[in-house]
Assembly symmetry: C2
Homo-oligomer: 239 residues x 2
């Protein structure tokens, strides 16, 4: 069972594997999107990308297609690809889905507290705290995302891991679009607390913690969305 390219960005697995060129490009673009070097709406012409990566359009398209399937970029017919600009509805749906799934998977994480995958969570928390104290903001955000993905992986269910990885990538994009610095940085409490709750065996509390955690993240972007600019012409001019 090969992990998807998206998941492999988060999981610190065997880096040595023979990654094909298009996969490399996929990962580089994904990385650029989730850490905000490529802003939402940025056009992604196949030619220029091809020159940048020294490959033909064929290879670029392969990578772009994968990104499109994850909704990270949007491709309109004959109009090319650009970094996606998720609508507010889409943003809401992503976070709703995350709350639903990530809350529900906590019992399964508890069943696997003794696995290596679970231990990795402690490593990630440590790195996250270290990054915060060192003021390495970008790194902290990354590690925060990886924590959520790793939590899903720690259920031992790769399918779930992939789903969460995809939602997490989308979240990064959404935060990049609507978020303030607050929504990225302040994760309203440490992920360490969650691990403590899980290890104490208080599943209900752990689930509540997660629900609250994700809700709060969404709230920070939701409030900043209110002051946004997006206009729905369709409903505006539906005489």
């Amino acid at each position: 069972m090969t992990p998807s390219p998206n998941l492999s960005v988060y999981v610190s697995a065997d880096e040595s594997k023979s990654t094909t060129r298009d996969e490399k490009i996929f990962r580089e673009l994904l990385q650029a999107i989730i850490d905000r070097r490529l802003r939402p709406g940025t056009r992604l012409p196949e030619d220029s990308l091809g020159e940048a990566f020294n490959v033909s359009r064929t290879t670029i398209r392969k990578a772009l297609q994968k990104l499109a399937q994850q909704r990270l970029i949007s491709m309109e017919h004959n109009r090319g690809a650009r970094v996606a600009q998720p609508s507010r509805k889409e943003a809401e749906d992503v976070f709703t889905a995350r709350r639903l799934i990530e809350v529900a998977l906590i019992p399964k994480v508890y069943e696997n507290v003794k696995s290596d995958a679970y231990k990795e969570l402690h490593t990630l928390v440590k790195q996250e705290i270290a990054a915060r104290e060192a003021g390495k903001f970008q790194e902290e955000v990354q590690l925060s995302a990886r924590f959520h993905v790793q939590l899903a992986v720690a259920t031992g269910n790769l399918i779930l891991g992939e789903q969460v990885a995809q939602l997490t990538s989308l979240s990064s994009l959404i935060i990049s679009l609507y978020g303030t610095s607050a929504s990225v940085g302040c994760d309203c409490g440490e992920h360490k607390d969650l691990l403590a709750l899980i290890e104490s065996g208080d599943i209900a509390k752990a689930q509540h913690w997660m629900d609250h955690h994700l809700e709060k993240i969404y709230q920070t972007i939701n409030t900043s969305m209110d002051s946004g600019e997006e206009v729905d012409f369709k409903s505006l001019f539906s005489s």
Copy 2:
């Protein structure tokens, strides 16, 4: 927010839309896989497919890539594509994920009982019963799958709808691989019962129904897997 090609197979939406050729091919192949005309393991050479659909390999590859991303086909480097043969672990993971997600989304379905999307569920149930009574087996299976997807769509959350659509497609493939006629046909009770429970407002019972429903489907394939042939050489010869 454009629905993914996978979701659009299940949702009886506007068929008239300008579907590109590769999307059409994607859907035809998907359809062929989920209703078992293409058996797991079948090779899918680009040339032959290109001739069959009267397009070049370029277009075929586009479709194949999408299928691969959903794990419905497997593509090995330089060795081409074939209809996926999910491992038992993968099969288990898919059904675990489904139980987790589909149980958790029931409260959100309840919130939307008045939506058109919910009403569509009743239509599907009627068609399903009609198909069963008419002995149209294939159609019944299809409609059963569509019911599950529509349930997710009825939450009003397209992201969830897509996730469930993907898992449902995979389930069809898994049943095709490991299932007996029992696992396909006998859904151990009517979907109608679930709607009744939801409408009565007894969420807990509805959730339990769903959990049991999916567990039972998995059980029928799980028992038939036990008598299967798959051999794990790695664990067998790990001296």
